[in-house]
Amino acid sequence: MRLEYFQMVDRITLLDPDAHLVRAECQVPEASPVFEGHFPGHPILPGVLMIETMAQTGGWLIMASQRFANMPFLLQVEKAKLRAFVTPGQPLQAEAELVHEGSGYAVVKGRLSSGGKPVAEAEIRYRVVPFPNPTLRAQMLETARRVAVPEAFLHG
């Protein structure tokens, strides 16, 4: 995870649009300016970044299932539960299940766990629209390769 760049997902470990499922590994860094403020003497991953991690994980599933024709933008977070503190250096496993793919929107159930123990969960909704410009699409494709989205899902 590169918290300062909002790059939350390190590696996709499973991506199965037919099963509506994605899993990813996310390694919390040992050090980050984020932890200097949140909190001094008690560094923990901010809850909003846990939600962002689930949102990005689900986002890869949506982009892959639509072969990177569209970009999901975070729209709504429902029933978010942050069950445990996450500390520097902790490995996280993220999972998202596509609950519904509507017209111009999508809904996933996201989950975070660590060492098999639940850490967070939320229902996340996205507005799904064509990429606003080619630069963003190219950047997302480059990032997709870095996080090991299978090549087959990168093109229509």
Binding site: L75, Q76, H100, G102, S103, Y105, V107
Partner: protein, 93 residues
């Protein structure tokens, strides 16, 4: 079994916190009931789930934006209900 209109009126009332008696078949979801685009997606999700359909919101929006359709055709509740009935019938066919 409630009518399509009754089901969507109930969804709108619950999702958007609008008293049920303020909602009529002639209400326009946006112009009369003041439902914004974020709340309308909530409504759409609930309708999609309730009827097992995928309302073609992008197509409808495009038609309205291009002047090919009036927003009344899609957002006045009795017309929305008729469109949903067609989608449900199309799914069953």
């Amino acid at each position: 079994m409630p009518s399509t209109y009754d089901t969507i009126a109930g969804i709108i009332s619950e999702t958007c916190d609008i008293p049920r008696d303020k909602i009529t078949p002639d209400s326009h979801a946006i112009n009369d009931l003041g439902i914004d685009s974020l709340d309308f997606l909530d409504v759409a999700f609930a309708i999609d789930k309730a009827f097992g359909i995928k309302m073609p919101l992008e197509k409808w929006t495009q038609e309205v934006n291009e002047g090919k359709a009036s927003s009344d055709q899609y957002f006045v509740l009795k017309d929305l209900a008729a469109n949903i009935d067609q989608l449900v019938a199309g799914k069953a066919a």
